[in-house]
Symmetry: D2
Subunit: 349 residues, 4 copies
């Protein structure tokens, strides 16, 4: 009954098989092998356009290097107040951008409110150097709170972002889960709505270590190979990342795995709705569920072997929990077993 995080899962057998298969023989290093090139082309197909794609090792690297690629002196990235980039990356975005500021924007459901974004951007005047200058807006799809932006919400944020000449970045650490939850195509959820750069995560959804930065306008990526190497993210044996992506993107494996994770989360949500000892803290989709539990219930679940984290949200937890209650984050993954979900739910009754 492990709902601690989807990165507690291992790798799917097809991923391991691909890695093993590609291990034979010699191949050019640093992204120059035939496999690397073939997988890069695969991204073009998936996104229905020519993209520039760069493999990196961690989601934090993908986000931080993406910001570095579009940074300006005194740069500011606008993100949701509870975004991973501001809360959970130990300052990597600031570090890799030489000190860009992650500026928190409020909004319900873990999502940037377009009105607040506009108000915050309005505070930057072209002639007021002291405030610095905005350079990007970033949204997570799905977000830290397990929620999803609608197509029109992304469009609204993109319009505001582009009206100011800024870059719209999407943190897609759980990109496949987002696609499945919204039933959209990769193109639909990204560049067709105005997203300029995507952190494409595969690690959480069945790979070992496969993340990519995807530029929808390849021209903007011209300096990125230097940014990646200087950032110590250019693997020598890149074919091991390429191999993972190759299997991940073949025959829709990635979407099947994500759909499973989402279904397991649905089952958890249903269980919570039917429980008198717990409730959903807010409505989520995709593979994250937030539950308000009595401390006693949490202890009982843990005693039975359940693992999950108390959610350390900046503000929300104080409002949503009553006395004696805590806010638990429950994450499912491609490898979550139905029987584990069912046992957890039955313990809630």
């Amino acid at each position: 009954m492990i709902f601690a995080s989807d990165n507690w899962s291992g790798a799917h057998p097809a991923i391991n098989e691909a890695i093993t298969r590609e291990s034979a023989g010699m191949a050019a290093a640093y992204g120059e092998s035939l496999l690397d090139k073939a997988v890069e082309k695969r991204f073009n197909e998936i996104f229905e356009r020519d993209v520039a794609v760069f493999f990196v090792g961690t989601g934090t690297a993908a986000n931080a290097l993406a910001f570095a690629a579009v940074n300006r002196p005194g740069g500011v990235v606008l993100c949701h107040r509870e975004a991973h980039v501001i809360e959970d990356e130990c300052g990597a975005p600031e570090f890799f951008t030489h000190g860009a500021r992650m500026a928190p924007v409020d909004g319900p459901d873990g999502k940037i409110d377009p009105h607040n974004l506009e108000r915050e951007l309005a505070r930057f005047k072209p002639d007021f150097v002291h405030a610095g200058q905005p350079m990007a807006v970033t949204l997570s799809q799905p977000g830290e709170a397990g929620t999803l932006y609608s197509a029109s919400e992304i469009e609204a944020i993109a319009a505001i972002t582009h009206a100011r000449g800024l870059t719209l970045h999407m943190d897609g650490a759980r990109f496949a889960n987002g696609l499945c939850a919204t039933n959209q195509s990769p193109a639909d959820m990204t560049w067709k709505k105005g997203v300029d750069i995507l952190s494409f995560g595969a690690t959480k959804n069945g790979c070992w270590c496969a993340e990519a930065v995807v530029f929808f306008d390849p021209k903007r990526a011209e300096q990125f190979r230097y940014i990646r190497k200087r950032g110590a993210q250019l693997f020598s044996k890149t074919r091991f990342v390429a191999a993972q992506f190759s299997a991940y993107l073949e025959d829709g494996l990635w979407l099947k795995l994500a759909a499973h994770a989402n279904r397991m989360a649905d089952r958890l949500r249903d269980g919570l709705d039917g429980s008198s000892h717990a409730r959903q803290a807010w409505a989520t989709r995709s593979n994250e569920v937030f539950a308000v539990l009595e401390h006693a219930t949490a202890e009982r679940l843990r005693a039975e072997g359940a693992q999950f984290y108390e959610w350390n949200a900046p503000h929300s937890m104080h409002d949503l929990t009553g006395p004696g209650e805590m806010l638990a984050r429950l994450v499912t993954s491609w490898s979550t077993q139905e029987s584990d979900v069912d046992r957890f739910v039955s313990l809630l009754k």
Copy 2:
């Protein structure tokens, strides 16, 4: 006949098997799994003392983060003029240290000359803030030129380094090759001679992506977990790195693989010594060989399928090659086949 680089090799079957085996089930992320902890302990055994070990993704990351860990404002790292950290890491050491300077020191055979090191260090006076302050000395074992420091050379450099209160770092991207070539124990080649921090590389020698920073004084590593995370080098599914190291260090696999690579290089060296169309540029050990070839010979070899790089050394190539000649770097690896070496050698006759 691929002698381009040892990072053109893939992964050894035992490595793939370990990765696949460890992929089952859930395990704590971010270095907290049982496997991670077990492998960390394995490093204690290998080095015959308690060490602090941190897995990272690339050799460049290992070097750059090690320097970041011991940096001082205005810091200077003294390295050989042709060191990887100054020539081949796209400024990553400078980037991760917020601008420390890699100061080149001359010396024959790709090795720091202790006398030159002392003279260079003497130029930094405690009261002269303008020059900055030295903070570390780094040596590569084996070095970029395929040569090795003797035990007494390392001791001499360590004595100079420590007399100034500096840190001695060893770039061990080919650490196992160095051990086999010198017939030393890991402890003997490092902390027993005064090395403080080691970049322990396993990628080139049969792993996919397994590098570690080893602190011989764990107290100096207290801030390193933040340095690694901020540097985007903390993998979520660290067990995939741990699994590689686990197999690599089991039953002496790592030393067997390195010994094979070194033997293949010996065979190449013998072949060059018996050739009238080529010669060793200088005496190397371990798994790198530098050959002076006529351009015509190089073209003929390449036409037959041989792959190798022209060596872009800052100075040496100009002195060692005559008209119509070029300097080739030939690297063997754990997966180099004897038949390839023999065919290459026969083409030189």
Copy 3:
């Protein structure tokens, strides 16, 4: 009628005289002159203890370099949401610290609320590397909103700060104005209440360019001379800064000038209280006044020659102003003339 900022004022005649006087002859550069040393000692007297003092060129430099001196990897500085370091320094604190995050803390009257500070700090757990680690708390005295911390408020914040092993920094860009407004000694308002490092500003209060970083524990300043030089803040002819401080601190000039500025602000505050076209937005002390004006009134004042800025506060302005109103910041200085204040006030009637 210029109330735009105290940095619109020039320099006091005594400052110019000192600069001119000290311009004769040769003197050691880079802080080594007799005058530099004498002025450094003067700071010991003023603060009633041995301090380490470093002259720099701008208040932004003083703040940013102070943070750099106590930074930790993944470091976080807690400051008020509207603090100068987060709003008005174009990312310099983040830049000089290699990406430390300025974390906003809420609190009324432009001051950190100790309860909020504690709650924010509690979110950093020693075992959760992802959030980074707090390294300092900074408060401005007086703050951007023209308000002042009481002695017990500083003590409360210092207690929380030190209980976590953090550094307490005070941004004293208007330090003298704070002393006069609270009638405290320099020692009383700083280290006796737990302040560890002070940005001591003199530029706004009658100097040209004289700022200092004061470490109340000189041991913590051991690396600072490198930090300052690397940060391009070590002037060659430092005696021109020393000369300014020398005159500034002689015969209480600094306190006389600040007292005058505060008195002019009192006069403005009285005028606002007696006006039917304007009101104080909140109670301030020292030399800043915030006024809610009808737009028409603001236009009328400007037409008569008054100069002041609309205050671009993140949140407060939206709550405090009604329709047709704006929030004006009025700053007085050592050179503000009583007649200008009186004319401004009369125009408000």
Copy 4:
């Protein structure tokens, strides 16, 4: 008899008068005053074209921020091995550029040898990301060794630099001394020969603290105001810098002061040539002289009150001095008195 450095001199009376005169009344801060704008225009006249000019506080800041303005990821600046930017700025250029590397190029007389520059640049291949990428070449006019590039030497270096798409920067810490020594106009010595950015120093030559970054193509300066503010180099009361430049550039004061310093150096050079106890180490022009002295002579001079530094050059001092000799740097300035020179020379006889 102080020949320690030209930054041991104070400020010329005309500079102090201008500062004092401009101290009256209120003026817009942060570079927006009428005086600031007028002085900026004065630079257009002096350089016979529209330039973008930015005042900063130190020569180190001018150099480091200029590099930051043209930096690329993994960027490399090529400079002479003994350049101030690599030897004497405590890593500020590396710091402000987020880790660009200062790559030393050899050449006699403290000047970059164009052939060596070309050879060094040739080592950077567009497809070899590991080496980083060159982004600028910098030369000092006059250089650290007191020598000057001829017009054709600057043109040759500019041609090589521009052929690679790089920026040519000139460190003009002693720009006026260079103009006087070569009898060139400011335009002739800079943009007409291919210089793109100039660090224009006035501090050493009679100002207190007046340095400027001059972009000969204003379009390249669009982001510089953010770079300067983020770098903590935007003074609030910029009119005090503007006032210095105003007086400095009026009626040719700057050239008169520099000519005096150069003449005093000529007198020193003549004295050395006529001495049997000392000799010029190499031929210099402008206001720096390098003398080989017996240690006993140096001691005798110092006992008589002479002050000068032993020159800590990386290589040259070892070749030029015999046993019992040292290499002294003698610097004259606008305030050096003929009688001091004559007394020094007489002591050498």
